[in-house]
């Protein structure tokens, strides 16, 4: 897992930071972006292996970010982080090609398994 890099896109700064720290703890390189613009800049300059993408964010929404990532044609698997009231957005995200989704608060082991599955896919 040492050469895997994950980008966590979530406006909840502390949550994103702790998820990153826990992934690092398991040997997965992780960085965070608190908004869509930052996330897209990182993806263009240093594409990660996987993106964990929160759907409900102020400014550019998760779905808009997903569409932009798709337009880069980098084939990066995206795991959606979903919350209440985002059922329809999740469905749309899956239709747009997201690899999978996970509901917040997530079971960390499940999240790591999904990351592994996404890489093996």
């Amino acid at each position: 897992m040492n050469d895997i890099s994950v980008l966590i896109v979530d406006d909840e700064e502390e949550l994103a930071a702790v998820i990153a720290e826990r992934l690092e703890f398991r040997g997965i390189k992780a960085q965070t972006a608190l908004d869509g613009e930052t996330a897209l800049r990182i993806i263009e300059s240093d594409p990660p292996n996987i993106v964990l993408l929160d759907l409900m964010m102020p400014g550019m929404s998760g779905l808009e970010i997903l569409k932009k990532i798709n337009s880069f044609k980098l084939n990066i698997p995206i795991i959606l982080l979903t919350g209440y009231g985002s059922k329809e957005m999740t469905l749309e995200g899956m239709n747009l090609g997201a690899f999978d989704y996970i509901m917040k608060p997530c079971d960390f082991d499940v999240l790591v398994t999904k990351i592994q599955e996404a890489l093996e896919d």
């Binding site: 949550l15 702790v18 720290e21 826990r22 209440y84 608060p105 960390f108």
Partner: protein, 217 residues
């Protein structure tokens, strides 16, 4: 309260549940990180490691309890979103009991439901039905002595759907029990019942309340 006022309370509550959910997600990850760090330490290098592990476990248990509560509260906040929708009564009643367990606990009265073996679906106003059931519950909580039990059971009998609310235990004063003309709670049940399309029957002998709803065609 009119529909706009109810919707306002629902929207604000739903918004807050989103935020609290994020708080709980952070607590889960922070406590998880502490567990990760502890897992690579030994009892020799980390004094009172066991105590720390036990405390983290307690934080995680409380976080899970919080998640369950906030999930139910979010569902509740969305009840006024629609004025009429298909409802599974088994789910609606379990939801109500989870949210109102505390009211029973304070009076040392247990709240129960025995879900129907099959799904019992009706089309009604979920908010008003929930409110009518809550008032029935409150009625029993007010009149039952500590140690009693209240049951809210859905029944599906092909032509109509029934919610049977009854109690086991001793009542404080049974003289005016189920007298809807003197009971404020039962007057409210009657009022609200109309909005959910329920017909309400009181059985003074069996000491129960029945809410009858038309079955979904």
């Amino acid at each position: 309260m009119n529909e706009k006022e109810i919707a306002f309370i629902g929207k604000i509550t739903a918004g807050v549940t989103h935020e609290v959910n994020n708080v709980l997600a952070s607590i889960r990850e922070i406590s998880g990180l502490l567990s990760d760090i502890l897992s690579i330490t030994s009892a020799e290098t980390f004094p009172r490691k066991e105590k720390f592990e036990a405390s983290i476990q307690k934080i995680q248990n409380q976080e899970k309890r919080g998640v369950k509560l906030i999930n139910q509260l979010n569902k509740f906040a969305h009840l006024p979103d629609v004025s009429s929708t298909e409802i599974d009564l088994n789910e609606l009643i379990e939801h109500l009991i989870y949210l109102t367990e505390r009211f029973g606990r304070i009076k040392n009265i247990e709240l129960h439901t025995q879900p129907s073996g099959q799904s019992v679906k009706v089309i009604t106003n979920p908010f008003y039905l929930q409110m009518a059931l809550f008032n029935c519950l409150e009625y029993f909580l007010k009149n039952l002595k500590a140690g009693g039990k209240v049951f809210i059971n859905p029944v599906n009998n092909k032509t109509e759907c029934l919610i049977n609310i009854f109690a086991e235990g001793e009542f404080t004063d049974s003289s005016d029990l189920f007298n809807e003309t003197v009971s404020n709670e039962l007057t409210i049940v009657n009022e609200i019942g109309k909005y959910s399309g329920a017909v309400i029957e009181y059985d003074k002998l069996k000491l129960n309340i029945k809410l009858k709803l038309p079955l979904e065609k």
